[in-house]
């Protein structure tokens, strides 16, 4: 085990009184340090979102005014006129489709890796993690020709590529979950005469539900956040929020629209997270 206890224990123990004092003092100092660090981190994570929040409501914000000169909802209107709703639906559909394919495939792969180690296992996990090492644009340069030649509908092509990029995450999350849960539970249920439905719904699902939700969420994010694959493989047939953002950001005077579209991009993942947090808490509460 790499966790080595600090050397010279006896020495410290002999100065226990002094150490206790020091510990108390360092705690007070530590709290200030911790609070300051936490505040700095909070600023770090939120600062870039600040201009978005302002631009959303800025009907007029000429340079160098530090704050918008006219507040209003013109940008929301323009963003809607630009197809924000279509893009939102496209993004949502894409995220859900990727999630719907990548999660079950990841579950299966993770079960195979966790419970059936074989001489193939190492190769299988190496392959499933390979997408992490291949930049998406490279895969797309190659696949684009292949997919069009095979007449794969472009939306299906996007889902296919993004699913491959989501699989490392779903497999990894589920692999961790299965490492913690013992297959013995299922086998025991089997021997005790549980039907397959009972094993699935009473034993397997409750055990892996939180991990399943995490995996599905990560896969959703892969679809939700993608730009390049949707652009190049989708060929314009699939309009998503990132595509609208890029197209708006390439024009002048669209900052407010970019801000609206950006905040739209933030809503569903946050809603999902909240939902997961709430149901997770309820589950935990129920069990204890």
């Amino acid at each position: 085990m790499a966790v080595t206890l600090p050397p010279g224990l006896s020495q410290q123990a002999s100065r226990k009184g002094a150490a206790q004092n020091g510990l108390a003092r360092s705690r007070a100092g530590g709290r200030i340090l911790r609070t300051a660090t936490a505040a700095a981190l909070a600023v770090w994570f939120v600062l870039p979102l600040l201009p978005l929040g302002l631009w959303v409501f800025a009907d007029r914000w000429s340079y160098p005014a530090p704050l918008p000169q006219h507040w209003g909802l013109d940008n929301v209107e323009s963003a809607l006129a630009r197809g924000a709703a279509t893009g939102f639906a496209g993004s949502l559909g894409l995220g859900l489709m990727v999630s719907a394919v990548a999660t079950p495939l990841g579950v299966l792969a993770a079960r195979s890796l966790a419970f059936h180690p074989s001489r193939w296992s190492a190769a299988v996990s190496a392959l499933l993690f390979a997408p992490l090492a291949l930049p998406a644009f490279v895969a797309v340069f190659g696949l684009n020709v292949l997919l069009v030649r095979l007449q794969v509908p472009s939306t299906a092509g996007v889902v296919l590529v993004l699913t491959a990029y989501a699989l490392p995450y779903t497999t990894y999350v589920m692999r961790l979950a299965y490492a913690a849960h013992h297959i013995g539970f299922e086998e025991e249920a089997c021997t005790l005469g549980a039907t397959r439905g009972q094993v699935l719904f009473r034993v397997q699902l409750p055990l892996i539900a939180p991990a399943l939700a995490r995996a599905a969420f990560l896969a959703f994010l892969v679809g939700w956040t993608d730009y390049l694959v949707t652009l190049l493989v989708g060929g314009g047939s699939l309009v998503t929020v990132p595509l609208l953002v890029a197209s708006a950001a390439s024009g002048t005077g669209n900052d407010g629209i970019v801000a609206v579209l950006s905040l739209i991009a933030l809503v569903p993942p946050l809603a999902l997270l909240l939902l997961m947090g709430m149901t997770g808490r309820r589950h935990r509460g129920g069990r204890t």
């Binding site: 160098p64 323009s78 292949l146 060929g235 047939s237 595509l243 609208l244 197209s247 708006a248």
Partner: protein, 359 residues
């Protein structure tokens, strides 16, 4: 089509799409960040040998059109079938050649454009009257001017304007590309642009990557000039406060480059006849007049004023004029022709090597 232009999007969504629907054609506007993305898709489809492609109509011109034509990406010989082609002037050179590439019925005209330099008249009281004068102004006011890095469309045009200027006018530059002329004329261009470099924004150590970035600099007061091939957008940007209220269009004695943009149908399109219906519709007097309204989009029409019907003439007569941008007749005075498409990548590459990468 290119989706960065809010007014263009709005025109298509609010006027062209409903009109197409009336003709029984469902038109779906696909925004791209760059027209090259669309051409790229068509080329990929072509590479894969499909005939049921995703893209049915592309707003295109210049080298994108030229390359696409060379690669067989466009359907050809269909524009003469459009009834509304009769309202255009068949001998208009802007419509028969697109940056030196014969159109050959591979694309239907849609709009005309005039390269326009705009300036903040509050910061530049006595604006220069020629391009050479502008370059002198830049050297006298270091840091207040820059241009987008080619291959950005707008930056690319500016280098061609400078080429005309240092060559003593466009008449001295052969429009068709020839290597001899290129080798003879470009050293002066490179010298001029190199001399200009220290006087540019950030001492020319870098350039805005796109006309959007130049516009952002102009909006933020970092530079006093901006430039565009679509002067229509100026009206809107001044009205909504993005650009300073004192923005004016720079009138150059020798004129500026003008061109036309077109609608092309990819050879891989699965809906060729529907695309032709839309191209014809886009050429109609009514649609051209709507598109020319500065409150809607303000794109210059491609129709021949002499061939308009009385109703058409009335439609155009009722158009309001823009407070910022003068009419097409004024802007296009002394219009310079565009160089052949083959010049464009050659000049862009030269610029990249000598000006951008060269120290």
């Amino acid at each position: 089509m290119y989706g960065g232009d809010t007014q263009g999007n709005a025109y298509v969504d609010d006027y062209l799409v409903p009109a197409a629907a009336k003709e029984g054609v469902t038109l779906k506007r696909v925004p791209v960040a760059d027209t090259k993305d669309a051409l790229n898709r068509v080329l990929t489809e072509k590479q894969s040998g499909t005939t049921a492609g995703q893209v049915d109509l592309v707003w295109v011109n210049g080298d994108n059109f030229g390359t696409g034509k060379a690669a067989g990406a466009w359907a050809c010989g269909w524009t003469s079938l459009l009834p509304n082609m009769g309202v255009t002037n068949p001998s208009d050179p802007l419509l028969s050649e697109d940056f030196g590439t014969p159109v050959d019925g591979c694309e239907a005209p849609w709009s005309k454009a005039q390269f326009t330099i705009a300036y903040n008249s509050a910061a530049v009281p006595g604006p220069p009257k020629t391009l050479a004068g502008l370059l002198d102004w830049v050297k006298e006011h270091p840091g207040r001017f820059t241009y987008p890095a080619p291959p950005d469309f707008t930056g690319s045009v500016l280098t061609r304007e400078v080429l005309y200027s240092v060559s003593g006018g466009y008449t001295n530059v052969p429009l068709a590309f020839d290597q001899g002329a290129f080798d003879r004329l470009t050293p002066a261009l490179v010298t001029e642009l190199q001399d200009l470099k220290p006087s540019l924004w950030r001492e020319g150590s870098t350039y805005p990557k796109s006309s959007r970035e130049l516009n952002a600099l102009y909006a933020g007061g970092q530079v006093d000039f901006t430039m565009t091939y679509g002067p229509a957008e100026l009206t809107k940007l001044v009205t909504d406060g993005t650009f300073p209220a004192a923005t004016k269009v720079l009138a150059l004695d020798e004129g500026t480059v003008g061109n036309a943009s077109f609608l092309a149908i990819p050879s891989t399109s699965g809906h060729r006849s529907a695309a032709m219906v839309v191209a014809n519709l886009a050429l109609s007097e009514e649609q051209q007049a709507r598109k020319a309204d500065p409150g809607i989009w303000g794109q210059f029409p491609v129709l021949n004023p002499g061939a308009l019907s009385p109703e058409g003439r009335a439609l155009f007569g009722r158009l309001p004029s823009s407070p910022v941008v003068p009419g097409y007749e004024v802007l296009s005075k002394n219009a310079n022709p565009e160089l052949a498409a083959a010049w464009v990548p050659a000049l862009d590459e030269l610029w990249r090597r000598q000006i951008l990468a060269g120290k």
